[in-house]
């Protein structure tokens, strides 16, 4: 139940926060204006991502208010021992271009640690940009002072995120930059090795990528399996590099080029033809024979299994309206298209911009399903317009049942306990991904979730010590 403290909101209508795809503009359906942040925090931030780097210590150099968000992320992960703060105050702005506070602060933290970590991820911030901080000098000096430490050049500069690579993308790239020729020996067991770069959530063993790698007799490496910093850097000895996320692709491409090895960007697509093409690419890179009748036959079997899974999900979901959010799947329009083509009642897609990779799906939906709503997640109308207030009475009456949401933001906006709790498409990929998601949709229709408790937790899949979380017993 929403408590009202807002006195005079005039009747904000759903039309102000959403648009029919038939009338939407690609790739930015909305102009930039004030933003609202829904109480949904399951997506990963740079702290979560940095914690994936084994044995690494994170040091943020920023003002107190900016520090609060990242240090509390680490605290909620029960990982404060791998996190330190250097606070910028007003006087630092007048002393120099923040070189002193950054250099001496990081040095001080490292002297205070019980043991020097093999890697330190340093996060300068927006202020460093605008003060013109000479970070090359800072890093050179740090490397001189601590020759046994690898300094990872990260950023926490949200002011740049709408006009350039986001801090998330920069961090994934910086972590990929650690994979250098000098950092790895050939794998002692020999054979063909494949590394997935820049994944937040581990690629599942049943995913098409993992199965094809296994079929080729190759070995798959994931950062989540690396127990040490050295083990992570050993991934540089791989024969093939793969990225699933567009945010990981630049780092993967740089690593592959630097190491003179092939790199494949295999995004999470939901169209059979695109998956078929990417599987072929991967099979070719693994030395399998993608053009054989057997390979094609297997592909067809996979597709038949997907059709069966979707039909099964349809039988369970029925006419229930569906809402999809961009936090859950990297291509929400692609997923909406797949479901709409299979007779599901997709009503709304929650997103703030349309990724260039989705242009074909956007045009298809615009033509074939023009009444599909695109709903902005950061529109200020969202403050009062969610849950029951989002739907007009007649829509509610027509829908009957509560909405099935795919993703936490959609769940919050639709105020539904029936949702697939997923970010970044989890560890899914390929035909397996479609089948598994169909299964998760069925499960979501059968088991209610505590939306309020779940969606407010940060970093789905990370350790969480908040009240109600599984790891709570640690404290």
């Amino acid at each position: 139940m929403l408590t009202r403290v807002t006195p005079g909101a005039r009747g904000i209508t759903p039309e102000e926060v959403r648009v029919r795809i038939g009338e939407a503009v690609f790739p930015n359906p909305w102009k930039r204006e004030l933003e609202f942040n829904p109480p949904v925090h399951e997506t990963w931030n740079i702290v979560h991502i940095g914690m994936l780097l084994p044995q690494a210590h994170q040091i943020y150099v920023c003002a107190e208010n900016c520090m609060r968000g990242v240090v509390m992320t680490a605290a909620e992960m029960d990982a404060l021992e791998r996190f330190s703060c250097v606070l910028i105050t007003e006087s630092d702005l007048y002393r120099d271009n923040l070189e002193s506070i950054t250099l001496e602060g990081v040095t001080d933290v490292l002297h205070k640690l019980p043991a020097l970590p093999p890697a330190v991820i340093v996060f300068p911030v927006c202020l460093h940009h605008f003060m013109g901080c000479d970070l090359q000098y800072v890093y050179a000096e740090l490397e001189k002072r601590f020759p046994d430490v690898v300094f990872v050049r990260a950023w926490m500069d949200p002011v740049m995120q709408k006009t350039g690579p986001t801090p998330d993308e920069k961090l994934r790239t910086a972590m990929a930059d650690l994979l250098t020729a000098g950092s790895a020996q050939p794998y002692p067991e020999g054979g063909f090795h494949v590394s997935v770069i820049g994944d937040n959530l581990p690629l599942e063993e049943d995913s098409d990528i993992a199965r094809l790698v296994s079929e080729a007799g190759a070995r798959l490496h994931r950062i989540q399996d690396c127990g040490t910093f050295a083990a992570y850097r050993q991934m540089a000895g791989s024969d093939l590099f793969i990225a699933r996320s567009p945010l990981a692709a630049p780092g993967m491409r740089r690593a592959a080029k630097r190491l003179g090895k092939p790199g494949l960007y295999l995004p999470n697509a939901y169209g059979y033809e695109e998956i078929r093409r990417m599987r072929g690419q991967l099979a070719g890179a693994l030395g399998l024979q993608p053009d054989t009748a057997l390979f094609n036959h297997r592909q067809n079997e996979e597709i038949e299994a997907c059709e069966a899974a979707l039909a099964g999900a349809k039988a369970t979901v029925g006419t229930r309206q569906i809402a999809i959010d961009a936090a859950a799947v990297q291509r929400p329009l692609g997923w909406a298209r797949l479901l709409l083509e299979h007779g599901f009642a997709v009503k709304t897609v929650y997103l703030d911009m349309i990724h260039p990779e989705e242009e074909k799906d956007f045009l298809f939906l615009q033509e074939s399903f023009p009444d599909l709503y695109l709903h902005k997640t950061v529109h200020i109308g969202g403050r009062v317009l969610h849950g029951g207030r989002l739907c007009r009475e007649e829509e509610r009456a027509a829908g009957g049942e509560e909405v099935l949401a795919i993703g936490p933001k959609a769940a919050w906006y639709e105020d539904t306990p029936w949702f697939v709790n997923m970010v970044e498409y989890g560890g899914l990929w390929g035909y397996y991904g479609i089948r598994r998601m169909a299964q998760l949709m069925e499960e979501a229709c059968l088991v209610k979730k505590d939306t309020k408790e779940i969606v407010q937790r940060k970093g789905l899949g990370c350790t969480c010590i908040l009240p109600g979380a599984a790891e709570r017993t640690r404290i």
Binding site: T3, G8, C66
Partner: protein, 408 residues
């Protein structure tokens, strides 16, 4: 180095403080920031975000906006949102970059006021201070803006009879996160024959804030209440008493509150500083945190222990000087300074053969002296949501119940 924290988190920042203070006031707060301060606030520092429709928004400015100013966009977007929501007032606050590029907030406020027809003010945050600064300034600005000018007459105050009217100042979930805290305080006042007139800024009392001049006395339950207390004193001569009615100290504080209303117009009093201490006590409890809350708890401890306990308050937040005893307590900045002071205190206690304990948020554990027991007093402004299910109700029970049931 005083500006580094190896393992301790930091307190909520000034932007979070400003937003928290104004959350229930029916206004609209616009944070001029790219993103981080807003999500930090609504994730870690605001327990009401999920269930309350308060209008707190973000400009989401870009690199280009930062370089070129682009105040026009700030004005246009804010005016548009105000037209949509019709807030009682508009407050602007900001993160470090608008501070750095010298955004003319006074000018922006004037233009916006003319455009929207509602009061507009700027809370001078810059992201480099703690929440106490933000809350205090926000309340002070609110007091300057929304308080109704009215003659304080015998009819308007309680001198004509009836219970004394009390404004509670500086009350936000950042310091008082236990469920029902505002109601518990109101009940406590009623039992002492005091009537809650207005509560700045949570609970039922927020409705009366505009007529705060009618109150007989201000009770500031945190140092965040100082800004509004000063404005109310300057404009209406209202006296203020600082303290939290907790444990055995409660009765004394409320008596002082009543007394201040009659005897000392315009005076500020801090009664917890006057609660005596037995220098010969064999146990020292060091209370770390916000000085008014911890100072009051310390006073309650001294009273409840019957002279067997000494206290030291380690004030962690800004502007704490008026609220600590110069000869016993101290304020600190950062982990290094705190750890050093705690080591010295532990050494001194050890040399005297005395016991030492710490009452603080559990996240302070890594810097507690070896062997010192930690009495947990979770504090939202420090550990955020982590101990949300264990927040102490400062207005109920004795020190033992407040400090995790551990105190004997």
């Amino acid at each position: 180095m005083r500006q580094t924290n190896r393992i301790l988190p930091v307190y909520s920042g000034d932007v979070s403080g400003a937003c928290s203070a104004l959350f229930e006031m029916g206004g609209m707060v616009v944070i001029h920031d790219p993103s981080g301060c807003y999500s930090t606030y609504d994730t870690h520092d605001e327990t009401r975000w999920y269930d309350t429709d308060s209008l707190i928004f973000l400009t989401g400015f870009t690199e280009r906006d930062a370089m070129l100013g682009n105040d026009k966009k700030l004005i246009e977007d804010t005016a548009q949102a105000a037209a949509l929501y019709r807030p009682r007032f508009i407050a602007l606050c900001n993160s470090p970059i608008p501070y750095l590029n010298g955004t003319d907030f006074a000018g922006v406020c004037r233009v916006l006021e003319k455009r929207t027809g509602v009061p507009v003010f700027h809370v001078r945050t810059n992201g480099m201070h703690d929440y106490v600064q933000g809350v205090s300034q926000a309340f002070a600005q609110l007091a300057e803006t929304v308080l109704v000018e009215e003659a304080v007459t015998a009819e308007s105050t309680s001198f004509a009879g009836g219970p004394l009217k009390v404004n509670v100042l500086g009350m936000t979930p950042l310091d008082f996160a236990a469920p029902g805290a505002a109601e518990a305080l109101e009940d406590k006042l009623e039992k002492a024959s005091l009537r809650l007139h207005a509560c700045w800024g949570m609970g039922r009392g927020v409705q009366s804030i505009g007529s705060s001049a009618r109150a007989d006395v201000n009770l500031a339950v945190s140092s965040s209440g100082e800004g509004a207390a000063q404005v109310l004193r300057e404009r209406f001569g209202t006296p203020a008493v600082f303290g939290v009615p907790c444990g055995a100290f409660s009765e004394r504080l409320l008596r002082e509150t009543e007394k201040a209303a009659g005897d000392r117009p315009g005076q500020f009093t801090v009664p917890f500083l006057e609660v005596p201490e037995n220098a010969a006590a064999r146990r020292t409890v060091i209370l770390i945190g916000e000085p008014v809350v911890m100072g009051s708890l310390a006073a309650a401890l001294r009273m409840e222990s019957g002279g067997s306990t000494k206290t030291v308050v380690a004030a962690a937040t800004e502007n704490s000087a008026p609220f600590i005893r110069k000869d016993r307590d101290f304020s600190f900045f950062g982990e290094e300074e705190l750890a050093k002071r705690l080591r010295v205190l532990a050494r001194e206690a050890d040399s005297r053969g005395e016991r030492i304990a710490v009452a603080a948020d559990p996240l302070y554990r890594p810097v507690c002296p070896e062997g010192a027991e930690l009495f947990p007093v979770p504090h939202l402004a420090f550990s955020g949501r982590i101990f949300l299910d264990r927040m102490p109700d400062l207005f109920e029970g004795d020190c033992a119940s407040i400090m995790g049931g551990k105190w004997i």
